[in-house]
Symmetry: C2
Subunit: 454 residues, 2 copies
């Protein structure tokens, strides 16, 4: 297996098709490398410009004096074959072909030419027809969407491989807003060379990546994907959302990426055998990923609910049976101890309802008790911030509990801006947060199943 480090940690990058026009993808991508935290050298290539953003521009990669480790091709499809040839002559071994206009619109021949040109020089390439790749750690960023329209998330442990560029762009933008953290994001486009299997294999040994997420319409080579994910899922969690699971969606897939979507049941069964966790929707991929990448394994399925809103506690409990979870009950002596430390109106039973006059200290008392109790496997803290006495202090209390890594801890709060700011702080501390109970319990189910397997 060849390493793909040249794509994600290159010492030097050439942007073929770099442009002076800020509206052009070739400009945006070049600027990403200059203005982000990328540490290597960057060379703009464009025969019609002398300099771009104050940097000397090269007519061809062949004119660059130094070695180039990675090239991004952002020229029209017809010209990209020649660009690939030039890369080969220059000795560049890693290429991202952002350009579209190949197999996805019927230009099969052009795609074959591109592949042939790369093969001749032993070049590995991603694409064509890709949104690009993004590495939050190294600063490699070949996304042609300007940052004001598509924010980039901070560095963390979630990797995402996407057969759809649009879905990847949405996810990056949304993760940034939510404060979720990314390692490597790869839109692999038509996968004329590097495909989902090779990417999974690489990410399985990437030390920045804690969990591998995939949006898949159809695997290029099903058998190989199965074998590789079965191995990789032993090292770290793999979560897949399958697009085109129904006849309705499937008919759209063929016109989208040209893959055969296959039957939902066949895929689901193969996923299970390969140790893959299947998500039902886009948000759920990242619900699962955040919990699996940040929390310790769970020893069982018993969840202690600690809430300040009775209704939220009930809805949380309601959503547990279908996810194979049960409400835990601490031992009676401990509950009696708790009762003494809490106001009379607090409900101390299977669910602990601290009610509307709660403060952070009462949460701390209950979380500590649940941490100690052997009959509690996971802890769900529900803290609705609309109540008067609850302040941001709860963030520290929950973060501290999670930091012990003794039991999985998740946090549920919904509301407006105030709530969102505090939840983002918790995400920063590595505590997965949820707005509503149903999504949280589904994520705990995923953690429980992964824990039981590994």
């Amino acid at each position: 297996m060849a390493s793909l480090d040249g794509f994600f940690r290159p010492e030097s990058v050439a942007v073929i098709g770099a442009s002076r026009d800020p509206r052009k993808p070739g400009h945006v991508i070049f600027r990403n490398f200059l203005e982000g935290h990328f540490k290597g050298k960057v060379y703009p290539v464009n025969p019609n410009a002398d300099s771009i953003i104050g940097m000397k521009c090269y007519p061809s990669v062949l004119d660059i004096e130094n070695d180039v480790e990675l090239a991004i091709i952002v020229v029209p499809a017809e010209v990209s074959i020649e660009a690939m040839e030039d890369c080969g002559k220059k000795g560049i071994k890693n290429v991202v072909v952002n350009a579209g206009g190949f197999k996805e619109i019927g230009n099969i021949r052009l795609e074959e030419q591109l592949t042939k040109a790369a093969g001749k020089y032993g070049i590995k390439f991603i694409g064509p027809n890709t949104l690009g790749i993004f590495d939050a750690h190294s600063g490699v960023d070949t996304l042609f969407n300007p940052k004001y329209k598509l924010e980039r998330p901070q560095a963390g442990g979630i990797a995402f491989i996407s057969q759809s560029g649009a879905i990847m762009s949405v996810v990056l933008d949304w993760m940034s807003m939510k404060g979720y953290r990314a390692s490597k994001f790869i839109s692999y486009g038509n996968a004329a060379d590097i495909d989902e299997s090779e990417l999974v294999e690489y990410l399985a040994s990437d030390h920045h990546t804690k969990v591998i997420c995939i949006y898949l319409e159809g695997a290029k080579n099903g058998r190989r994907f199965f074998d590789i994910t079965r191995q990789a899922s032993k090292k770290k969690p793999i979560i897949v959302l399958k697009g085109g699971k129904t006849a309705e969606g499937s008919s759209a897939v063929s016109s989208h990426t040209g893959s055969l979507a296959g039957q939902a049941v066949v895929y689901s069964s193969a996923f299970r055998q390969a140790g893959i966790i299947e998500a039902d929707d886009i948000e759920q991929i990242f619900d699962f990923a955040r919990v699996l990448s940040s929390q310790p394994k769970s020893k069982g399925n018993r969840v202690q609910i600690i809430t300040d809103g009775g209704g939220f506690g009930i809805l949380f409990a309601d959503s547990m049976p279908k996810n194979g979870l049960s409400v835990s009950r601490m031992n009676e002596k401990r509950l009696l101890e708790l009762k003494k430390q809490l106001p009379e109106h607090a409900v101390v039973g299977n669910i602990i309802d601290l009610t509307g006059d709660v403060n952070a200290e009462r949460y701390e008392i209950c979380i500590n008790a649940a941490m100690e109790d052997p009959d509690v496997d996971m802890i769900a803290v529900i803290a609705l911030f609309q109540v008067p006495a609850l302040t941001g202090e709860i963030v520290e209390v929950v973060a501290e509990a999670a930091r012990q890594r003794k039991k999985p801890v998740i946090f549920i709060a919904a509301g407006g801006r105030f709530t969102e700011v505090l939840k983002k702080s918790l995400e920063d501390y590595g505590v997965p947060t949820f707005s509503y109970p149903e999504r949280a319990t589904a994520a705990l189910k995923a953690l429980k199943e992964y824990s039981a397997r590994c």
Copy 2:
């Protein structure tokens, strides 16, 4: 049926327990009436203060010179019986008892005394143990949560009756952030007098309310609730989320509001017979409510998807069959016409994929075609704003289409801050927006079923 207008459109309000301490509920509630857009007179009542926020304070409601239409009791449970007596002597007929400390913590006797005192004078009351009531149109606001922690939504057509104060507070805050619009929100607490049935009956004839949403743990009088909702659901949509549907959740209900949660199947079947639409989670109540309160009825189940991201189109289509929807197909002549007006790489089939170089004009062309085509019942516009050429102009295009009220139109976009701002604008124009396909199709299902019934 007695009108509850005195609660929601009073000409004068007394806050019994108004306080000078900004941290006290009695202060927050009094301030709400002063600083909001409430047009009537407001009187603070507190025997230990001369003036509050610069207004003359009264030792008792009996000392107020003028008539009082509504009183809010925000004093401790034990004192509230006397406050209720005073209201009776003063001739006040409508009272909200915010105070807790009654049946919900076992003080059944105290609650009986409160009810008796009210009955003696023919007083109607909401509570005790309620978060309060909120009318976005009149400015009545008895919520004791400060506005920086719990924002208030703008005036619109969604009413919400909640057996849980916490859930109501979360929802109000969240709706404000999202730009969703409210009519009347009522936390009815222990329902010692006014209960969910009476509130439904009132809201059914309230001209501000377009849709009635309910969070229900257990109906006080199941038969009456059934009869009233069956009548009311003929006038406007009623959406219910039932808390305590499982054994896990149910065991928590009894300690929460003291209701008997009842069996899930029994409730679900009764809901269906009463014409009630059942939601699966909190967000879904408002997914349904926004579509049902803003969109015209649908003539069938065929949805035209117009997207700029192939993957999103596929996931949308994938989620349709389980919601009883099908992908529409415009007639071939119209599709040929469309093809001529769009770039070659646009996919013009069952799903229209305008791809990543889309602009607002192309959306307009396709939306207009779908509006005209008799084989399209509903229109789902997916516009991922991360692509370079798509600007805020799409907001006008979609709003204009929805304004025609010929067919239901919904909008799907996910991402970060830029996306959220544009979605909020669309909500302002009365177009329901969604982040991810699955929630949107569930809401269209609700609309389809409601349309078929009425």
